[in-house]
């Protein structure tokens, strides 16, 4: 494997090219499919394999920026992006993010904030994952079985909206705003602001990019169709990736050669992930996302055990769980894409 090792001039280390491309590819597929940046996979992966943490974050953000450009373009082509909502989400999230990071700074003065952040992170992932599974297996299956008097399935089957989002839409505090691209006729601007303020706050507080928080918020709170939530979430990811890429490079914490090589795999992966959205139904995306964040929560849990008891095994296990989940999900998405596209091709040939 030494044959594939290259020297990374800025970070001053040697790294395996194939490993960089593989990490990039996996995170590209997941990013394009779920509408997330995937920093929570790449940063620890690069760190495990020898990158200094600051270089791992900076290089990862550069890669996220590059891979998201292609993914955004593809989602735009499929009509999965609500630009109006995306831009509002960026502007409002920035305020929430600032508040979140200020809270962290204030808490740091009182003591070790890392433990609290990890507990909150773990709790958030567990609750979110559990709710998404509950929604998939209980609420939606109940709604899908409900039929109206004419024997048609309920409207919820078509738009997949949750009761929470329906209730939020009914709150009539002017000014009201509509999002035609998302099929939302009228919703209070204040509700939208509040939701993005909270997601931004969580991003700042937990120190994460926010894609995995915004995507479910768009589905379950604002009531976007899953595919539109994926595309719109990528707008925020693109912006934070671009901003992070520039500022980290300015501080000298981006390894350009590594980011370049990783992006070769990531942009291919992002195209595959984005294309797979066409073949997987909205609920299928929600289910896979729920499974992934539950495993990510488990990984944070093992990391927490390591921090408390200082048993190295748990740290290694946390990394294995995270990497294993990423590779497994990538495999699942590609398999689904190949199967469904082959099916589509066969049907097309038959009809001709």
């Amino acid at each position: 494997m030494d044959l594939f090792n290259i020297s990374l001039p800025v970070a001053g280390i040697e790294f395996n090219v194939l490993l960089l491309i593989l990490i990039g590819f996996c995170v590209g597929v997941l990013g394009g499919f779920f509408g997330v940046g995937g920093g929570w996979i790449v940063t620890p992966a690069l760190n495990i394999f020898g990158f200094h943490m600051a270089f791992a974050i900076g290089t990862d953000l550069s890669n996220i920026f590059g891979q998201t450009i292609g993914a955004v373009k593809k989602h735009q082509k499929m009509g999965n992006i609500d630009w109006k909502l995306g831009i509002i989400s960026i502007l409002t999230s920035v305020i929430g993010l600032e508040i979140g990071s200020e809270v962290i700074i204030a808490m740091e003065k009182a003591g070790d904030v890392g433990v609290i952040v990890r507990w909150c992170y773990m709790l958030l992932l567990a609750c979110l994952g559990a709710y998404m599974l509950y929604d998939y297996f209980v609420i939606q299956s109940r709604q899908l079985n409900e039929t109206d008097l004419d024997g048609n399935n309920s409207e919820n089957k078509k738009n997949g909206r949750t009761k929470i989002s329906e209730k939020l839409h009914r709150i009539n505090i002017p000014p009201m705003i509509s999002f035609p691209a998302s099929g939302i006729d009228s919703v209070s601007v204040w509700i939208i602001f509040l939701i993005f303020l909270i997601t931004g706050f969580l991003s700042g507080f937990l120190g994460v990019g926010g894609g995995f928080i915004i995507m479910p918020a768009l589905i379950y709170l604002i009531g976007l169709p899953t595919t539109v939530a994926v595309g719109t979430s990528l707008i925020t990811v693109l912006f934070s990736g671009a901003y992070g890429c520039f500022t980290y490079a300015l501080k000298g914490r981006v390894e350009l050669v590594a980011a370049f090589i990783m992006l070769l795999g990531a942009s291919i992966g992002a195209q595959i992930g984005s294309t797979a959205v066409k073949y997987v139904k909205g609920y299928g995306i929600r289910l896979l996302f729920a499974i992934m964040i539950i495993f990510a929560g488990c990984s944070v849990g093992f990391e927490q055990i390591y921090k408390i008891f200082q048993i190295k095994f748990y740290q290694t296990f946390a990394e294995i769980v995270l990497m294993g989940t990423a590779i497994f999900m990538t495999f699942m998405i590609i398999a689904r894409l190949l199967l469904e596209s082959r099916k589509e091709k066969t049907l097309k040939n038959k009809s001709e």
């Binding site: 001053g12 450009i69 999965n80 099929g183 595919t227 671009a242 520039f246 992002a270 595959i272």
Partner: protein
């Protein structure tokens, strides 16, 4: 249309970044902190592109940041275009999809 929006976002980001950079630089006028901005990387045994990258990194960090952003944006777009062509070749093409769940 989508590319126009991406370019608008990129411009917005650049304006914010420059503002951020200026505030970052002005906060260090007192010269109290020697931050990582001043770190240098050795150029021994380097040649070609690697040497150019390191020299840029050492001598002009702002240009280095601009180059990183441009390279990532260009490579991301080119690779996306290329992959799209390959997927089309295999019959995997995308168009506007229905948003029913």
């Amino acid at each position: 249309m989508s590319m126009k929006k991406i370019i608008t976002l990129c411009l917005l980001f650049f304006v914010l970044s420059i503002a951020y950079n200026n505030s970052f630089a002005s906060s260090e006028v007192g010269g109290k902190q020697e931050t990582s901005l001043n770190e240098k990387v050795g150029t021994k045994n380097l040649s070609g592109v690697n040497l150019w990258i390191v020299e840029l990194y050492n001598n002009d960090r702002f240009m280095y940041a601009v180059v990183v952003v441009l390279v990532m944006a260009a490579l991301g777009s080119i690779m996306a275009f290329g992959t799209d062509l390959v997927l089309k070749h295999f019959g995997i093409n995308v168009s506007r999809i229905s948003h029913s769940e």
